[in-house]
Symmetry: C2
Subunit: 282 residues, 2 copies
């Protein structure tokens, strides 16, 4: 749910609506992806759970109100599964782009089967195996955050290592939440560098290790936000730790990437490719 | 990234590809949303970071290989920003559905401006204010998980309360990660029920409280996975705790929802509506 808008961009005098009969998460991801191609900011309104004709008419009222106020067509990104709800929404004064209505019908033709027209399926999955795996992975990643536990490391899909504040925790949680990947993480600390060895529970799982490194300058910035003026945050100490961590990872043959200018989404996607988790059936 | 496929569905003899010049997260969300309208499972392959002509030709090779093997057109969901890369991919033997190529050009016309054709913008945002807020929110939610800390509760956007294992932790993390919402969570425990009062740090923030409840039968199931046969997991105890928690929330005027059959995405979307975080500018 990101956008690359920054504070210097002009604000468009247009409201953007995300309309869905489910959570609206897909409509929003879809809309953001299209909107980020424009150097503008937009006022954005989420209208989730539009699953009755009454709610659809109420949504149309809001869209038309924005049209009257702004004198320009609101932009409407939607994922509407039911044709009757879609018809009501499409009659508004907005400019309509709908994911389901645009792509499901050509796919029905291609596959030679009818679609189910079931509402809210992408994010209404609390009873599926995949959803349970995601929740289990979140619990696993929390229990194995920051080297808290070395129990059950054999069931981890990946174990992230790196210096403190290199991005291990948010990446582990993202991998778990988004992909159901059981991601543990272990800090590399000065004691490890002095011994010149990985924490003792890790060598047995070397094939699961993946390193995050970071530019010392950026690391120092991040650590200074937490503990301003500390030795821990000093550029000199950050240089020492990053050098030692990279030397250790090189010596142990651990793959790593630099998290410096990367979002947790980009780091996670790269890790998925490395651990060959990019082919799935479901 | 969910799908509602279950183990009884037929597996289609078709490979689905998600192709993107960025992380592929949008392409995958988009594709899943369309595919969940069909009662089939698909083999799914993620091809992220396709940002050069060489990589595009390599992607085409993989798509054509699947075509040769399966004798049917692979389904290709893509988000390709650069026209030259899109042209190469579209020449494959797959069936192509591209979010950007389909919707950006009508939007250029509507807005009367050209798009930027910048790659990977939705999830390549490590330097934006919004991204920093998300990372800060994740750290906040972790530090305030399960009543660990009552420091800085004044800066929380929402404080979830409910009995142990009602879904507070994954929901807090999802709100933080996806929306940059600072979500603390506090368990309601037997000591609170005996006193008939909320934990002492909470009444000052009553307007930020949001409750999760759950059917005792489901709660007992979840707890039995963690601590089989314990009093904690017994149906009798779960009934007691849920009744008491609901009575306490009713007495204190706290809004709540039942998490029983809901995914963390659905719970989070409902909470966003309640705390009026569904209108944003960026």
């Amino acid at each position: 749910m990101n956008s690359s808008a920054n504070s210097t961009m002009p604000i468009a005098n247009r409201t953007v609506f995300f309309v869905s009969d489910g959570t609206g998460i897909t409509a929003e991801t879809f809309g953001h992806s299209v909107l980020t191609q424009f150097d503008m900011k937009f006022k954005q309104v989420r209208l989730p759970f539009i699953d009755t004709l009454d709610k659809a008419h109420e949504a149309v009222r809001k869209i038309n109100e924005a049209f009257e106020k702004e004198g320009a067509r609101p932009i409407v990104f939607s994922t509407l599964v039911k044709t009757d709800l879609a018809k009501v929404i499409f009659a508004s004064k907005g400019m309509h782009m709908d994911l389901i209505q645009t792509f499901v019908s050509p796919l029905e033709q291609e596959l030679g089967v009818k679609s189910t027209h079931t509402i809210g399926r992408s994010h209404n999955v609390a009873d599926t195996e995949e959803y349970k795996n995601r929740i289990e992975a979140i619990n696993f990643s929390l229990a194995h955050d920051d080297g808290q536990s070395d129990k059950n490391l054999s069931t981890a899909d990946v174990i992230l290592v790196g210096v403190s504040r290199s991005g291990k925790t948010p990446t582990s949680l993202y991998l778990a939440m988004q992909y159901g990947i059981k991601a543990a993480n272990y800090p590399l600390i000065p004691e490890d560098f002095e011994r010149g060895k990985l924490p003792s529970c890790l060598p047995a799982y070397k094939h699961k290790l993946f390193g995050l490194s970071i530019l010392p300058e950026r690391l120092s910035e991040i650590r200074n936000e937490r503990r301003p003026g500390s030795k821990y945050a000093s550029l000199e100490n950050c240089r020492y730790e990053v050098n030692e961590a990279e030397a250790l990872m090189r010596k142990e043959g651990i793959r790593w990437l630099s998290s410096t200018a990367k979002s947790i989404e980009e780091i996670s996607t790269t890790i998925l490719q490395e651990i060959k988790a990019d082919v799935r059936i479901y």
